[in-house]
């Protein structure tokens, strides 16, 4: 199992570097332009469209939290959606999973190795991105004193990792239960978008307040307080708990799955030979 885990991580080293440095670049653009745009953004801060996407432009801290701490994790989550649904469902679609499950490993070992590996890859990407963005913040000259230190930015970015882990495990679960990669990726993408906008809309419309609890983003702090108070432990526990539940569900479904058949659980598709 360990060798499969190592292989899974090794096979993604390009993704680790590409996404890690890509996210540094992304953060660099948004962090470095802020001092120059601060006054212009003040006049736009009350626009609903910004509230819809959760952007708070009134202060450096608010901007950092609502832009850098949202969009970098969102990009990481997009990678996790692509990678997790490609891992089981995608490998089954392209036929490589058949050979892996014919190896002397239990399905539990295969799934565990892949889940740990992909979680590790997300961790490496986020470490690279967080360190890079912390350095950029340290290098940028901001006239007024701010409550965001490079270390604060690093820890705040790292606190988004549980969110990525949840998406990885849901991706595995969908890959184990749905007929193919495309459907798994579509369902997870829709869920992710609904989760993101659901949280912001619920924040704007009082009557929709209760649906906040259904959104993953409700358990990820993107307000200025994260730079001073850090992430809520309860939020991290909830997200890790959700990830654990979906990992167990993925394990159960993967054990039962007829590999290579590709169909809904109640009607496992056509006969291939």
């Amino acid at each position: 199992m360990f060798n499969l885990l190592i292989h899974e991580i090794r096979s993604r080293w390009r993704a680790i570097l590409g996404w890690g440095f890509g996210l540094i670049l992304f953060g660099a653009v948004y962090i470095s332009i802020f001092p120059g745009l601060f006054e212009q953004l003040q006049s736009l801060k009350d626009l609903s469209v910004y509230k819809l996407v959760g952007m708070r432009l009134g202060s450096v801290e608010g901007y950092m939290a609502s832009v850098v701490l949202v969009y970098i994790p969102i990009l990481l989550c997009i990678y996790c959606i692509i990678a997790s649904t490609s891992t089981l469902a995608g490998e089954e679609d392209n036929g490589t999973l058949e050979l892996i499950v014919s190896m002397p490993l239990s399905r539990g070992q295969i799934l565990t190795a892949k889940a740990i590996a992909l979680s590790g890859v997300a961790l490496f990407i986020m470490i690279i991105a967080s360190i890079g963005n912390a350095f950029i913040l340290a290098a940028i000259k901001i006239d007024n004193p701010i409550n965001v230190t490079p270390f604060g930015l690093f820890t705040a970015l790292m606190s988004s990792l549980p969110l990525a882990l949840v998406l990885i495990m849901i991706g595995f679960f969908l890959g184990a239960i749905l007929p193919n990669h495309r459907l798994s990726a579509t369902v997870l993408t829709i869920f992710f978008i609904a989760s993101f906008f659901g949280e912001n809309i619920a924040g704007m419309v009082k009557s929709l307040e209760p649906i906040r609890y259904l959104s993953l983003f409700n358990y990820y702090n993107t307000t200025e307080t994260i730079f001073t108070d850090g992430a809520q432990l309860s939020d991290i526990v909830i997200l890790l708990g959700i990830a654990a539940v979906f990992f167990i569900l993925a394990l159960i479904c993967f054990q039962r799955r007829n590999i290579t058949v590709g169909a809904w659980p109640w009607q496992r598709g056509k006969i291939t030979d």
Binding site: G95, E98, S102, R256, N258, R268, D273
Partner: protein, 304 residues
């Protein structure tokens, strides 16, 4: 060949919703034999292999390998098996050498490096390139090497020579023969009936998901039907041999070729009045047997 049973299926059935995969399949493969598995596309060959390997779960029935349950003891069983899938898919950007190393690393048994070198040389494969750079035939060679390199007790091959040139096909058959000579077992699913006839001890014939015949290759060929060429003294009339189980294949004057699927008494009785100068038995190939089972006028091989 030993009497030890390596593969045993008991009423093994797989359904995909309303579709039939395989139905009440009962077969056994003994240690040291090369068992051929024949059937047209969609008959259930690959489904059987995948079910035995626990890639697909049976709807009912069970399979045991080395006396172990295919579902409960899957990992332990697969430690003793290597498998070449019929539709081999490889990681495009992975080097063949890395792929082979990966497969070895996922198993407990150590690899005999000198045997791997020997295999690569015999098959004619340079493993230093990426998968996407190989032709279809070369990818199949990688699969063949992967299947044989571990020297497993049971090798399951699904169309192993598909896409290979005749020389490499011959090498694969030699490898199968060597496995047999070492007392190991091969389960071979193939459409290439010449290779099945060349290396298999027994064959199972599957049709519409049901195993309709399991027989030694030699017995199958000899018992299923015979071809007789009779040289008559005087030419019999066209309807002289309208007998059940006897078919006139060709006629050249006094020389007639018959296909007979029952005892020869009735044919001899009808032939005697025309004077028999000579009778020659013609060899029947497994391919002809197969066509008798599955051809357009198939009668399940019972009344050809």
């Amino acid at each position: 060949m030993s009497s030890e049973i390596i593969i045993q299926t008991n009423d093994l059935s797989v359904y995909y919703g309303a579709h039939r995969g395989i139905k009440d399949l009962n077969l056994s493969v003994q240690k040291g034999e090369v068992f051929g598995f024949l059937g047209p596309n969609g008959a259930g060959k690959t489904t059987t292999l995948r079910t035995i390997l626990d890639i697909i779960h049976p709807t009912q029935g069970s399979a045991t390998l080395f006396g172990l349950d295919s579902q409960k003891d899957g990992a332990a069983i697969r430690e003793r098996i290597s498998y070449l899938p019929g539709e081999l898919s490889l990681y495009p950007s992975m080097k063949a050498s890395y792929f082979l190393d990966l497969l070895v690393s996922l198993q407990k048994n150590k690899l005999d490096d000198s045997y791997l070198e020997q295999l690569l040389e015999r098959i004619g494969l340079d493993p230093s390139r990426k998968m996407k750079e190989y032709s279809h035939g070369n990818k199949q060679k990688i699969g063949v090497v992967a299947a044989f390199m571990g020297k497993k007790e049971l090798i399951i091959l699904d169309e192993p020579t598909l896409g290979l040139d005749p020389l490499v096909q011959q090498t694969v058959l030699e490898l199968v023969q060597e496995v047999k000579d070492e007392g190991r077992t091969v389960f071979l699913s193939s459409h290439n009936l010449k290779e099945v006839q060349a290396v298999c001890d027994r064959v199972g014939i599957i049709q519409n998901g049901e195993l309709i015949k399991t027989e030694k290759v030699e017995t199958l060929i000899n018992q299923q039907f015979k071809r007789l060429e009779i040289h008559f003294r005087k030419e019999p009339p066209p309807d002289a041999f309208a007998i059940e189980g006897v078919k006139e294949i060709s006629r050249d004057g006094n020389l007639i070729l018959f296909e007979v699927s029952q005892d020869l008494d009735r044919l001899m009785e009808k032939a005697a009045p025309y004077g028999i100068i000579d009778i020659e038995t013609k060899a029947v190939s497994l391919e002809e047997i197969f066509l008798a089972f599955y051809g357009p006028h198939n009668t399940g091989g019972k009344n050809v």
